[in-house]
């Protein structure tokens, strides 16, 4: 049996291996997560994680540093990839991505406003406040993009991208201005946050992000079939009984929420939202019912790449502070 069949020059995995492929991807994720948990400044052997025989110190490191970091990587990566997939379906354009069309930067501007203007709010409340701000920022960007893209009568991809680029530039300027206004502590928070990192992960961030990302992801999966039909075109989808306005509203709100939550806890992480859905489309096809869950899993993988680099960064920072 050949694993790939030729479909219009594009290798598409045979249908009967698609669901097992998804399961395999999920299982492998578990494995990679464990490996990721074992990497860092304090060495924790993989066998120890699996067998459960760890020293108290290793246990403490695992519980309060590694595990939240790994889980946050899974949640953030999944959220970004799912949002990318849903956005591309919504705009019926393979280039739509929260980072590219200004949704992420607009959310970032809103978070920067909270950091600089609202003063220090710690704990759950602070993170939820940042998430809500990011959500509002993302929603505002979506609204502006829809309005401007429709200016020429029909939905124009050119206008969508131009508007996105304009929002990117304006938001960057806004963040710059806020940086100028901020004091030393705020500047520090802002800088590390905008770099896009999973290093400062705590259980608080994991819980805040999970409570937002998981429900929105489920809503998106529930609407996957209608998202497929939407790709035929808005009027075609309406002919086929899809309430297009309601679907668009749902997708926009869900992606804004989930991008907002991801950005609030980890800053802007690009690339994942744009590329992961395309990789899935190339191998498993464009059906959203498979695309969304598979993107979630592959997106989670992508964010693991953050973890070792963060460890490196930490080590370097420690060296510098010693010397």
């Amino acid at each position: 049996m050949t694993l790939f069949e030729k479909a219009g020059g594009m290798p598409v995995l045979l249908k009967r291996v698609k669901i097992p492929a998804l399961l395999l991807l999920g299982l492998a994720l578990l494995g990679v997560a464990m490996v990721a948990a074992s990497i860092g400044a304090v060495s924790i052997p993989l066998s120890g994680i699996i067998g459960g025989d760890l020293t108290d110190q290793q246990m403490a490191v695992l519980n309060s540093i590694r595990l939240p970091r790994v889980l946050l990587a899974v949640i953030v990566g999944g959220a970004l990839a799912v949002s990318g997939a849903a956005m591309q379906g919504l705009f019926r354009n393979p280039l739509a991505d929260p980072g590219l069309i200004g949704i992420a930067t607009s959310a970032a501007l809103a978070v920067a406003m909270v950091i600089v203007l609202a003063g220090p709010i710690a704990g759950y409340f602070g993170l939820y406040a940042m998430s809500v701000a990011a959500f509002m920022g993302a929603l505002a960007a979506c609204f502006v993009i829809f309005r401007f893209a429709k200016l020429s009568g029909t939905f124009s991809v050119t206008y969508m991208l131009l508007t996105g680029i304009a929002i990117n530039a304006l938001s960057a300027a806004g963040v710059g201005f806020l940086t100028f206004l901020s004091d030393d502590q705020q500047l520090r928070t802002l800088t590390f946050w905008t770099m896009g990192s999973l290093g400062g992960a705590l259980w608080v961030s994991v819980i805040v992000a999970t409570t937002i990302v998981v429900p929105t992801g489920l809503v998106l999966i529930r609407n996957a079939r209608e998202l497929n039909v939407l790709l035929l075109g808005e009027s075609e989808a309406r002919y086929l009984g899809v309430d297009v306005e309601r679907l668009k509203r749902r997708v926009v709100i869900c992606t804004a929420l989930s991008v907002g939550a991801a950005i609030a806890v980890s800053g802007i992480i690009g690339f994942v939202g744009l590329v992961v859905p395309h990789l899935i489309r190339l191998t498993l096809g464009p059906d959203h019912r498979l695309l969304i869950p598979a993107s979630a899993i592959l997106g989670a993988y992508c964010c693991f790449s953050q973890i070792p680099s963060r460890g490196q960064l930490l080590r370097q920072r420690k060296c510098r502070s010693v010397s």
Binding site: N93, V229, L231, G233, E236, G241, V242
Partner: protein, 254 residues
């Protein structure tokens, strides 16, 4: 059965449709004919419910179109639009299965997939089943879309079928195959078929009724064989008489 009563539709100050009255009967294939920009597609969109007319009413089986829910409507009428660009690599079969969306909750996906296969066979596109849609030629895409539209009203008796230039990208053989299929299904399932088309020969041979429309006004309606004459063509399309008779005279003389 579709009825249009005094439909008026304008974009800004430009009046696209003016006081259109028309009835489309079940079991008949009706053509809407007219020059470019006459309002044919706009009329079609008003009849399908995609556009809301400024004034007047469209009724489907005696009930006002505005009183149907989207799902109800999607089971009573299917629409084949002109251009259908899709930039994602769905297979032809997946596209046709989307036509079964109105029934996705009550029918099993296996039975919907089966109907999609039968529809593909019907339009002579079975061999394209697993090809990626964006890589198909214009005519092949048109046939796949037609299969999707057929799948949508597959088991519905007396449903409506709207086709906007369904043969524009087809070769001669497939043009006739498609029109034959439309006529056959129309008779078998008592469909109300409304086609916007430019090929007057095809309209003459393959449709029962026709409406001429020009500058938003209905200029005449009736049996295609009686109405599609050199005289009428020359008037509606602003064509010198010689051209009308030269191009269509041979066929229309009798």
């Amino acid at each position: 059965m579709i009825g249009a009563e005094n439909i008026i539709y304008s974009i800004g100050a430009q009046r696209i449709l003016a006081n259109v009255y028309a009835t489309f009967k079940p079991g008949k294939v009706t053509a809407i004919l007219g020059p470019n920009g006459a309002g044919k597609s706009t009329l079609l969109k008003c009849l399908t419910g995609a556009l809301k007319p400024d004034e007047g009413m469209v009724s489907l089986d005696g009930k006002d179109l505005r009183h149907y829910s989207l799902t109800e409507l999607s089971r009573r009428r299917a629409v084949l639009s002109q251009a259908n660009p899709i930039s994602f690599p769905f297979t032809a079969h997946e596209i046709v299965v989307m036509g079964r969306n109105p029934y996705s909750l009550e029918k099993t996906s296996a039975s919907n997939a089966e109907i999609a296969d039968e529809a593909l066979t019907l339009v002579d596109a079975w061999h394209l089943r697993d090809r990626s849609y964006p890589t198909l030629s214009g005519g092949e895409q048109q046939r796949v879309q037609f299969a999707r539209v057929l799948a949508q009203i597959w088991e519905q008796e007396g449903a409506c079928l709207f086709l906007d230039e369904p043969t524009s990208a087809l070769d001669l053989k497939h043009q006739h195959q498609l029109m034959d299929l439309v006529q056959k299904l129309c008779a078998e399932k008592n469909l109300t078929v409304i086609i916007v088309m430019h090929d007057l020969n095809l309209a003459y041979h393959c449709t029962d009724h026709c409406f001429f429309i020009r500058e938003g006004w209905i200029r005449g309606g009736g049996e295609s064989k009686k109405l599609i004459t050199a005289d009428n063509i020359s008037e509606i399309f602003d064509l010198p008489m010689e051209y009308a008779t030269m191009r269509f005279g041979m066929e229309l003389a009798g």
